[in-house]
Amino acid sequence: MSRFKSKKGKGSAAINTSSLPDIIFMLLFFFMVTTVMREVTLKVKLKLPMATEVQKLAKKSLVSYIYIGPPVNSKLLGTNSRIQLNDMFATVDNIQEFVAQEREDREEADRKYITTSLKVDGMTKMGIVTDVKQELRKAGALKINYSTRKGDR
C-alpha cells in the first residue's frame, strides 16, 4: 500500500513549456527564410498545360522567365496573348535585350547554364511562341523549358 501512497504524494510534475516558444521560433525562422515571395506581378493569365514527362528545374537562380498569355486586364487590352518580361508587357523585339540583361545579372561562370523557362498559357497560339523561340535562338539562349503542370490530361 505504501507504494501507492508515495506516488500520490509527489503528484505529476508539470511539463516545462518554457522552451516551447524557442522551438516554434526556430520553425518560424525556417519558414521565413525558405519562403520566396513572388518577385514579379503577373499581368497575364496563365493556365499551364499538363504533361507527364516533366523534368524539374534544378537551380532557380539560373532560370529566367518569359510569360506569355492573355492579359489579366482583358477589357482594356483585349484577349490576344502578350509577352511579359519582368514586370512589363513587351514585344518580340525586346527578347534579345532581355536575354542580354539576364546574362549580365548572372556571374560569368554561370552564364552558360541559364535556362529560359517559357510559361505559356495553354490557349495561346503557337505563332507568338515560335516568334519568341526564334528570337531566343538568335540571342543564343538555347536551353529552354516549356513550363507545365505535372499530371494526366
Partner: protein
C-alpha cells in the same frame, strides 16, 4: 529605496504568437518546384548553309494544323497513337525499306556496338496551333523516347532509366537512344 518589484512578464502567450506567425508562413509558402519539358533549341540558321538532305524513309513527319489536327506520316491521327507510332518507327527493322536506315555504331560508354536508327521525327506546327496541343505532342514524343530508354536500360542493367544511379550508365543510355526530334521552320498557313 522603495522599489516596486517589477512584475515578471508573462511569456506564456509567446508560443501562441509564434504559432500564429508560423501558420501564416506555412500557408503562404509555396514549395512548388518549377517543372516542365526541357528542350534544346538549334543554333540560329545560317543563310548560306543549305538544308541537310535527309532520305524520305528516314523521316517521320508530324504535322499539327491550326485546328489542332494531327497528321502523322501523311495520315490523319490523334495524340494517343503517336507514341506507339514513334516507337515503331525508331525500332530497328531489318530488310524493310519502309523503315529508316540504321548504322552500327560503337558506343564508348557502353563498350559495345549498337544498331542506331537514322530516323528523325520532324515536327512541324502552324502559327495557329494552340500551345496546349503542341505541348501534348511534345510530351507524347518525350514519352516515346523515354520508354525506349527504359527498355534499353532494363535490358542492359535490369533497371528502369529513372532508377539508374550510376551517372555513366545514364550517359550511356542517353547516347544510345538520342532524342531525334527536329522542329521545322514554322510556316504560316492557317492564319493567326
Amino acid at each position: 529605496m522603495a522599489r516596486r518589484a517589477s512584475p515578471e512578464i508573462n511569456a506564456g502567450s509567446m508560443a501562441d504568437i509564434a504559432f500564429l506567425l508560423l501558420i501564416f508562413f506555412l500557408v503562404t509558402t509555396t514549395m512548388d518546384v518549377d517543372s516542365g519539358i526541357t528542350r534544346r533549341l538549334p543554333p540560329p540558321a545560317l543563310d548560306d548553309v543549305d538544308d541537310v538532305p535527309v532520305k524520305d524513309r528516314n523521316v517521320l513527319k508530324v504535322l499539327i494544323n491550326s485546328h489542332d489536327r494531327l497528321l502523322i506520316d501523311g495520315k490523319p491521327g490523334n495524340v494517343s497513337m503517336l507514341k506507339a507510332k514513334v516507337i515503331d518507327f525508331m525500332a530497328i527493322h531489318h530488310n524493310d525499306d519502309s523503315y529508316p536506315e540504321f548504322t552500327i555504331k560503337y558506343i564508348k560508354e557502353l563498350g559495345l556496338e549498337m544498331e542506331m536508327s537514322k530516323g528523325i521525327i520532324s515536327l512541324k506546327n502552324d502559327r495557329g496551333t494552340s500551345y496546349e496541343m503542341y505541348i501534348a505532342v511534345q510530351n507524347e514524343l518525350a514519352s516515346a523516347f523515354h520508354s525506349m530508354k527504359d527498355e534499353l536500360s532494363l535490358r542492359l542493367y535490369g533497371l528502369k532509366f529513372d532508377q539508374l544511379i550510376n551517372k555513366d550508365e545514364t550517359k550511356a543510355i542517353n547516347k544510345a537512344v538520342p532524342v531525334r526530334v527536329s522542329e521545322a521552320e514554322p510556316e504560316d498557313i492557317g492564319g493567326k
